[in-house]
Each structure stands twice: as C-alpha cells, then as structure tokens.
C-alpha cells in the first residue's frame, strides 16, 4: 500500500507544480505547453527513481550483514 499511496503523492505534487507554473509564468499556449512538458518530465523522472529504489527493497533477496566493528 505504501507504494500506491506514495505514487499518488507524486501525481498530486506534479499537478500542483504544473498549476503553480501556469499561475506564475503564464506565457501563452505554446510557452505553457513547454512548461507543462518540463514539469511532467521532472515528475516522471523523480517518481521512477523513487519507485525503482522502493520496489527493489520490497522483497529483498539479501539482508544487511553487519561487518566487524559495527
């Protein structure tokens, strides 16, 4: 469940960011589309990064083995 909830958080953050960008730098339809593309790309990249690391740790095949002196 943690995965889906955090994914939802990412989506919401993306939507809020694109609204903010639209409000503060409104530059006509072509400019707005460009800004929207940037925000969507950034959101997708960040989400992918997080999701990959999260999925890799969900059902790990190895566990931390402490080394000497820890």
């Amino acid at each position: 469940m943690g995965f889906l909830i955090t994914t939802l958080i990412f989506i919401v953050t993306g939507v809020i960011a694109s609204l903010l960008v639209r409000i503060c730098c409104n530059r006509g339809p072509s400019g707005n589309l460009f800004h929207l593309t940037l925000v969507i790309t950034a959101t997708v990249c960040c989400w992918m990064m997080w999701a990959i690391v999260y999925l890799a740790q969900m059902k790990p095949l190895i566990v931390p083995i402490l080394s000497e002196g820890e």
């Binding site: 460009f34 940037l38 990249c45 992918m48 990064m49 740790q57 969900m58 190895i62 931390p64 080394s67």
Partner: protein
C-alpha cells in the same frame, strides 16, 4: 492521434518557420536600411557575390578605409595601454559624427601621436647620452690622480663622436679630449674614457692591447657614484635637469592627448566596427547598375516580417528617398536555417545540443526533454545531497551576480561555468533529490524518513555478523534504508539495485527517442518511415529489452530468485528448453519464443521494404505515370525534405539500400551496446559513493579519533580539500561528460538528423568584439 494535432505548437519543439525574402533597395537608402536592419538583427543575408574576390566587390574602398581606421584605433589603444592610463568611460553626450569627419580626426590624432613619440624618443636618447657622459666624468676623475689635471680642465671640450652602433647598450661613447702638452706630457700621452658594456670589457682590452702594441694602461671600474670634477660636472648636470624637465613636459602633453582620445575611443571603435559590418553586408548585395538599386536575398523568420517592413519604411523616410524599398517573399530551393528563440535559461541547453549538431529545419528538438533528463542523469551519477548543497550554493552565487559577471570579461573556465549556471542549478537540485534517495550526506546515511526496516533477529544480536538482520517492518518509505551503510552485504545489494536501475532508465530514455522519431516522421508526412522504420524498431527493441525491463520489475515485485542473466541468454541459445526455477511469468516459454520470432522478423522489416518502395515510386514518377490512389504524395521522394542538398533526379538503388542497411545494423547492434552503455550510471554512482566513503572514514574519522586539536584541524582541512577538488570538481566534470555522452549517442542517435545550419542574422549585437 488527433489529440496531438489539436495541441498548440510547443515553444522550443520545432525551429521557427523561416521564409526566403528578396529586398530591392534604392541606392540612396541602402546604407541606412542595412544599418537599421543590423540594429534589428533578424535577417540573414545570402552572399550573392560569392564568386567575386574581395577586391572585385562594389564597396571595397569603403571597407579598406574602415580597415585603416580600425588600425589607427588599435594603435591608439596600444599607446594608451603602454602609457598605463586607465581608459576613461565618459557617458557619450557628444553629438554623432560622420564617418568622413571621423576619418580626418583619426588621421590628425595619429600624426600628432606619432610625432610626439618620435620627439620623445630623440629627447630620451640625448638624455641617456648625457647621463653616460656624467658617469664617465665621475670615473675618469677617479683615474686621473696626477696633479696636472688642473690646467687641463679648462680646455676640455665636450665632443661626442664615434658611436659604434645605434644601440644604447652596446654604445661606447669615446670622448676624445685633447690635453695641452704640459711638462710631464712631452711623451704625447693621451687618454680616452668612456662607457662600455660589462660583457665586452675583456674583448675590448685585448683589442686595444693588440692595436697599441701593448703600450697602453687600461683601467675600469663599475658605474657607481664617485668623486667628480666640479666645473665640468656642473654644466652637464644643468643640461641634464633641462632635459628631464623637457621630457616630463613631453610625457604630460602626450598623456593629455591620449586621455582625450581615450574618452572617445570606445564610441569610435564601435562606430567603425558597425560601419565595416554594414559595408561587408552591402558587398553581399547585387549592384544593379541599370536600375540604380541594390538587390539582396536572405532568410528571415516569419514572425519578424512586420518588424522588418517597419524598419525598411523608417529607413526610406529617414533618407528622404522617393522610392520605397521593395520587400517580398520568394521560393527557395535550399532548406532554411534553424532558429530557436531561447531565453537565458534554455540557451545553455540549446548550446549543449547544438554542440552535437544543429537541428534540421523543423525537426523535433531534443532540448525539450534534455532540460530535465540531462541534469537528472547527472544526478543519478552524482547522488549525494551534501555535495548537492555545495553545488547549489555555487550556482546561486553565480546567478545572484549575473548582471555584474555578465558584463565583465571572464577567464575561459569561469566563462564556461557562468554560461552554464542554470544547468548547474538544475544539476544541484536533482543531486539533492538523488542524494536523499541514495541516503548519502557526504556518504553518511540519516534516518530522516522514519525508522529503518531492519533489526536483529533476537535481542542479543548474536548472529548479526553472520546471518544478518531481518526485515520486520514495511519498506523504508523514501530511498535506501540506512541500515545498509557499512555492511558486508552493502555492495552486492547496491550493485544489483543500481545496475537494474540503469537498465530501466536506459530502456525508458531510448523508447522516448524512438517515439520522437515517430513524431518527426508524422510531421514530415513520411508514412514510409512510420511503417517501415518506427514500427519494426519499436518491436525489436521492446521485445528484447522491454521484456528484460519487465522481468526486472516482476522479479522485484515477487521476490523470486530467478537468475535474469540465465533467462535472457538461454532465451536466445535454446528457447524451447524448460525454464525450470527461473520461471517468472505464467506461460513464459511460449512468450519468449514469440518475442524472439518478432525480433527476428523485425530485422528484415526495417531493412528491405523502404528502399524497394522508394525505387518503385521513382520508377513510376520517372515514367510519367500519374500518382497512385493512396496518398503516394506522402511517399514522395521529397521525403528527403530539409536536406541541404539540391534535389537530384537520379536514384541510385544500391546507395539507398546500403544506407538503409547501415541504419538497420546500427540500430540492431546499437540496441545491445547502448543498453549496456547505460550501466555507466551504475559505475559512476558507485565510484562517487566509494570515494566519498573513503574520504569520510579514512580521513575525517581517523583524524577525529585523535584528541589533538591540531590533528583534527589538519584532518578537517584535508577532507575539505579532497571533497572540493576531487569530488566536487573532478566528479562533476566526469558525470557531466558521461551524461552528455548518454544524451548525444544513446538518446539523440535514435531520432536526431542534425544536418541543419544555424540562423546567423546580420546583427550588430553579435559582432565579434575586438581582441583586447
């Protein structure tokens, strides 16, 4: 797909629409029109007089005069620099002067300056000779110990002769002095004194010895202060002081003249530069002698047409010409130049992409995605939020001082850093994000997002060093669990994670590239490309590497122990074998066989149909038959649209086939090698993490272990230096370079033609500055 058609055109996605225009300018308004167009800076002139040498062009005299004037201005600048005067920057309130007036003024100033310099030289020479004479007197006074010198002094005259050569250092001024034959001088003794260079003394002595056959007495002394002869010395000293005064006055006069020139220098230099540029441009126009007007052709963006027309009208009005300037659109054979309207933020990214190649006219611009993916891939290789904060501070400082640094002249390294300040800003922000995910702050993990998910199996933690901890809670919510740092199994886990992450990013970015090639083909209306290039490429790539990405995700989600290397390799080697323990999907074996067949079919699909169909179209066209029913106009030979070459009418089938074969082989082999190339994301992030661990543990912690404050400070200093130079500078450059390579080769290689040329309008703002 109509959804994409209905969207407005994105800002930077495709280059501006250009149009080819022709200008017909009457002669009297030509100069004014061109200089106004230079101010506007939106028209690129084509050189219509390409075949003429520079001396055959119309305005060659004016260009020569401008060259002369700029030579004079450079001379003034040199003189000002040599006199070490600071250039004064008066606000130029003086009225604009005409070019001819400027020419005469410059000529006057030059003759004046040259004369002053020559006079100064001569005075200085005289001064130096007198100085030498003074020194000789001092020395000679010391030599002549004999008392008869009294009578002789009154008859001494100053005669200067015998300069061996004009060079001051090598000059030995010999002053012959006749002595009255006194009682002790019946033997005819004479003496000669002078100054000679120290290195030549021995040779001179030997030469004199031989010349006088040994009948000489040679005495020498280094030039220092000595007892002097009063009377003669006074004459010399007074002349010396006169000369000094004259020299000083001369220098002051020259400096005033230079100052007055210096206050105008910048303005004059700018004027001359602009004039030269205007005449160079005028030389590109065709001078139509019969019609007394100039004809010019060039490219301009469509949005700029009204501005240009307004400028031309103003030029006609200002030059009181009866005839207006004609400005109309023409058809062009060659493809237009590429022009992107960038702002200070996107400019640096466009430069990065242009360094690989300038986009073809109106093809998809990778910058739209590069603005985000480039700093992101950098951050994947750099991920450490402590270092990210340092980079952020640096970028913010550069941006805060934008205006000041922008007007200065910077060294080459600072200029690169300043030009890329927004790139660095984004890189820093993403590095902080990736650092939080990798959980590294100068390689130290933190428990920012909650408790770790691992703990000992029992309360004694007896087997923590053998079997390890267990996972008792939900996964750590954001990033890598902090328990992993410092373990024995840290590296196997992180390596597996980062390698798979690199493959997933690689597959995603390359798919994006192939999809962009679809949009290109759609824009240029070439359905051949879509059917016989995009589709087989997608099928081939995704049936192999998309499948691998899917397997990775399934393995992670199910926690299976399947060996993915084994699965992929045996998918090719023996696809019909039983999969056994490595089963991840239901019906995996038939699926794998199907994917393998699809991939094999895709290869000839992307190789053969396109050249054959092109050949068929060409034959049909050549035989004058009417075009077929279904949109053969889409499959026009002109799908070579935008290539800078002229359209040829001949069609070389073997050439097209070989070209397509190269393209197909490049894609097929590239699919494997490019995917593997993305493993550099893993490699560099591993290197970064290990380096920062080493510096932290082996330098900082080691030094901190001692109680001595000096050792602690030394350790801190070494840690700071190592972090700043090795991690912040070297690793930044390294990750920058590798992210660049990933973009240029792996991403842009999938869709970018890059055979356009840049739009270079005639603009005063972009004229190169004179070298300082």
């Amino acid at each position: 797909m109509e959804f994409f058609d209905n969207l407005p055109a994105m800002d930077l996605m495709r280059s501006e629409k250009m149009t080819f225009v022709q200008l017909i300018i009457p002669f009297e308004s030509a100069h004014r029109a061109i200089s106004y167009l230079g101010e506007l800076g939106l028209l690129q002139f084509r050189d219509l007089n390409d075949d003429k040498s520079p001396f055959q062009r119309t305005f060659v005299n004016q260009v020569k005069r401008c060259g002369e004037m700029s030579r004079k201005l450079r001379f003034f600048k040199d003189q000002i620099n040599k006199a070490s005067l600071l250039p004064l920057t008066h606000p130029t309130l003086q009225p604009d002067i005409d070019l001819e007036e400027l020419e005469t003024q410059l000529a006057e100033h030059e003759t004046e300056l040259v004369e002053m310099n020559a006079n100064g030289e001569k005075l200085r020479q005289t001064y130096n000779e007198l100085l030498e004479f003074k020194m000789v007197l001092q020395k000679a006074g010391g030599f002549l110990v004999s008392a008869q010198s009294h009578k002789v002094t009154e008859d001494r005259e100053l005669e200067e002769n015998l300069y061996l050569n004009n060079d001051y250092i090598e000059r030995a001024s010999l002053l012959e002095q006749e002595m009255q034959p006194g009682p002790s001088n019946q033997a005819g003794l004479r003496f000669i004194s002078g100054i000679i260079c120290k290195s030549k003394i021995l040779r001179f002595e030997r030469m004199l010895f031989r010349a006088t056959r040994g009948n000489m007495f040679f005495n020498q002394a280094p030039a220092e202060e000595y007892v002097m002869d009063p009377v003669l010395a006074e004459k010399v000293l007074s002349r010396l002081s006169e000369l000094e005064a004259t020299l000083d006055a001369g220098i002051r006069h020259r400096n005033t003249a230079l100052n007055s020139i210096g206050s105008h220098l910048k303005k004059w230099t700018d004027m001359v530069r602009k004039e030269k540029a205007v005449y160079d441009t005028l030389n590109m126009l065709n001078f139509d002698v019969t019609k007394k007007c100039l004809v010019g052709e060039g490219w301009c963006p469509i949005f700029a047409k009204p501005q240009i027309q307004e400028v031309l009208q103003r030029a006609t009005f200002d030059s009181n010409s009866q005839v207006g300037i004609i400005f109309h659109v023409m058809d062009a054979v060659e493809s237009p130049p590429t022009y992107f309207r960038t702002n200070k933020f996107t400019h640096a990214f466009q430069e990065i992409v242009d360094a690989y190649g300038v986009a073809r006219y109106q093809e998809a611009n990778p910058v739209v995605y590069t603005v985000i993916t480039y700093p992101f891939l950098f951050a994947v290789m750099f991920g450490d939020w402590g270092h990210g904060i340092c980079l952020l501070l640096g970028a913010l400082i550069l941006i805060a001082r934008e205006r000041r640094l922008g007007s200065q002249k910077l060294g080459s390294f600072m200029e690169l850093a300043f030009g890329g300040r927004y790139v660095i800003l984004l890189m820093a922000v993403f590095s902080i994000y990736c650092g939080l995910i990798y959980n590294e702050f100068f390689s130290v993990p933190f428990h920012i997002f909650g408790l770790s998910a691992y703990k000992c199996r029992d309360s004694t933690c007896s087997d923590a060093r053998t079997t390890g901890l267990i996972k008792y809670r939900d996964t750590y919510p954001f990033g890598v669990d902090p328990s992993w740092r410092g373990n024995r199994s840290e590296l196997p886990f992180l390596n597996s994670l980062k390698m798979k992450m690199s493959i997933l990013f690689g597959v995603a970015q390359m798919n994006l590239g192939i999809i962009l090639s679809y949009f290109n083909a759609r824009f240029f209306a070439s359905s051949l490309d879509i059917r016989y290039q995009f589709v087989p490429q997608m099928i081939f790539f995704n049936s192999l590497f998309g499948y691998l990405a899917l397997l990775i995700l399934i393995k992670w989600c199910t926690g299976s122990q399947a060996d993915l290397y084994h699965v992929m390799i045996y998918m090719f080697l023996s696809p019909t074998d039983d999969i056994g323990d490595n089963q991840l999907l239901w019906a995996q074996r038939p699926l794998q066989i199907l994917l393998l067949l699809l991939a094999i079919v895709a290869v000839p699909w992307m190789l053969f149909p396109k050249p054959l169909i092109l050949r068929k179209i060409h034959i049909e066209r050549f035989q004058g038959r009417t075009y077929g029913l279904l949109g053969t106009s889409e499959m026009d030979l002109d799908s070579e649209l935008g290539s800078a070459r002229q359209r040829h009418e001949e069609f070389n089938f073997s050439e097209v086939l070989v070209h397509q074969m190269i393209h197909a082989i490049e894609f097929v082999l590239g699919a494997v090698s490019n995917t593997a190339s993305y493993l550099r994301l893993w490699a560099l992030s591993l290197a970064h993490s290990e380096l920062s661990t080493v510096f932290y543990e082996k330098v900082l912690l080691l030094a901190w272990g001692f109680d001595n404050i000096l050792i602690r400070l030394a350790g801190l200093a070494v840690f700071a230096f190592a972090t700043a130079f090795i991690l912040l500078m070297m690793e930044t450059l390294s990750a920058f370079l590798h992210a660049l390579r990933l973009h240029w080769v792996e991403f842009m290689g999938k869709f970018y033609f890059a055979d356009g040329y840049k739009f270079r309008p005639f603009s005063f703002a972009s004229l190169p500055e004179e070298d300082d």
